[in-house]
Amino acid sequence: MSQEPLAATHLPLSRWGISRRQLEGRIRRRRWADRIIRGLMVASVVVVLIPLFSLLIYVGRSGIQGLDLAFFTQLPKPVGMPGGGMANAIVGSLILVGLAAAIGVPVGVMAGVFLARSTSRLADGVRFVAQVLNGVPSIVVGLAVYGLMVVPMQTYSAWAGGVALALIMIPLVTLNTEEMVRLVPRDLNEAALALGVPAWLATLRVVVRTALPGILTGIMLALARVAGETAPLLFTALNNAFWHQGLSNPIASLPVTIYNYAISPYPEWHQKAWTGALVLVAMVLITNVLARFFGRSRYDRR
């Protein structure tokens, strides 16, 4: 955007077959185009940021009133009784997300590395399945797990909730891992092979290692995504008004608890729902920030 005198004015313009006036006109048009495009981009950024910040501010303002220590340490109280918290739902969410990660991360990362390194028909099939699974609405995932686990086990359970969340995580982690591994230049793999390193070690300790920050970022973002999922938990993990009672029993979670409180007719429960929403948003935000942090490599000077 510098407004220096036109560098071209002292060049023999006839070489380009245009007069100085034509040239100046062209440059002026380009400057205008530049300004217009810049303006459009700033506007788009604002359009993206407005909903985000209004959501954060609104949830923050509404939720902060009910935020106290008891919210993190106490069980919910029955309607009409003051106090109480959502400690069981917070712990339950952590357990469910932990279960989902324990299943989804190894499966997703290994499948992603396989997709990136293989050219077989099987790889094409796996990629297709992952893409389809990625597009399945989360309520459908919940229904499927209901049929596959809740019905045979004859109970809602933390296991079923964890599996449902894992099914949402796996395609996210798989497709992201594949992309990250593919971004590693082939030269690095060849350099390791040329040193006499066996192919599987070259893949693991050079290629995957180089892609690791991106893979970890993808995992954290997938965790943040499933931490806020409600639909797949409604008929898998169900809910629970008490502390968790083992993984084979229904378990409370923040999203489902917020949902139940929000649709109840009691104003004090609405307040609790707002506070729960604030806690959930904070957890997701922290995970996202951690993801950025992991995404920086050891030698990053950003």
């Binding site: 050219t119 230049p185 030269d187 690095l188 060849e190 350099a191 390791a192 092979l193 040329a194 040193l195 006499g196 390193v197 066996p198 070690l201 070259a202 300790r205 050079v206 290692r209 180089t210 690791l212 490599s297 050891r298 030698y299």
Partner: protein, 251 residues
């Protein structure tokens, strides 16, 4: 330690496209052999056959035979990993491992394998000295290799290849992205390597071939056209295509 490389009726293809046709020659030990020829004539393919890297390319096929000394490079019971330990390679573009420090890069040929080997620091120093890089990096061994200049990165890759103590060093246009001063340093390194290793140098630079090599092989369209002592090949080529190439009439 250094062994001659005997290439016999070597052919290589990418899927249906045959890139090398019936190449036969012997690269002498403890000398630099330069490989020259126009772009796309199969120079890279040729050196990648020597350390069995060609078969890593999708569709890559090789037939014919190569011997390191008396031992075959191709065969049902030859492990490519063992061949690659004996035949080190430096690529056209520097390829330092970005997640490792300079020091870790030099000894990567050991640390990437299971088991902790002997004194890595002194090994690293020795390799870096051989590659002519020690004085420039000795105070920043823990730094990222990405902060090095292109020429330094290339010598780092040479040091990394030397650290595993190969018998043969393949250099595929190691100076193509380097400035004249870095080039001179790498050339000096190459000439020193020739005292202990069998060195194969792919180059587009005819002056470079005359400066550092004792023998030169000229390739054209996947065929070996002429092979002989460098001086003879450049002053008195037997083949008129060779003459046309070195006098700059094509290529």
């Amino acid at each position: 330690m250094a062994v001659p490389i005997r290439v016999e009726h070597l052919n290589a293809a990418f899927g249906p496209f045959q890139a090398l046709h019936d190449v036969t020659l012997t690269l002498p030990a403890r000398q630099v052999t330069a490989i020259i020829g126009p772009s796309g004539c199969g120079k890279s393919t040729f050196v990648r056959c020597i350390n069995r890297m060609h078969e890593e390319t999708p569709g890559g096929r090789v037939w014919g035979q190569i011997y390191l000394g008396d031992e075959p490079v191709y065969g049902p019971d030859v492990d490519p990993v063992v061949i690659r330990r004996r035949v080190g390679m430096v690529f056209q573009r520097p390829t330092p491992f970005p997640t490792m420090s300079i020091l870790e890069n030099v000894v990567a040929g050991y640390t990437l394998l299971p088991g902790r080997p002997r004194d890595l620091e002194s090994l690293a120093e020795r390799s870096l000295r051989q590659a002519g890089l020690w004085d420039e990096v000795k105070d920043r061994l823990r730094d990222s290799p990405l902060n090095l200049s292109g020429g330094q990165q290339q010598r780092l890759c040479i040091a990394r290849a030397l650290a595993v103590e190969p018998e043969v060093i393949l250099l595929d246009e190691p100076c193509s992205s380097l400035d004249p001063i870095s080039t001179a340093k790498v050339e000096e390194t190459i000439m020193e390597l020739a005292q202990r290793y069998t060195v194969v140098l792919v180059t587009h630079n005819i002056q470079q071939a005359t400066r550092v090599s004792q023998h030169t092989a000229f390739f054209l369209l996947g065929r070996l056209i002429e092979f002989g002592p460098t001086e003879q090949l450049f002053t008195n080529p037997a083949n008129e295509q060779t003459e046309a190439y070195i006098t700059g009439r094509f290529g």
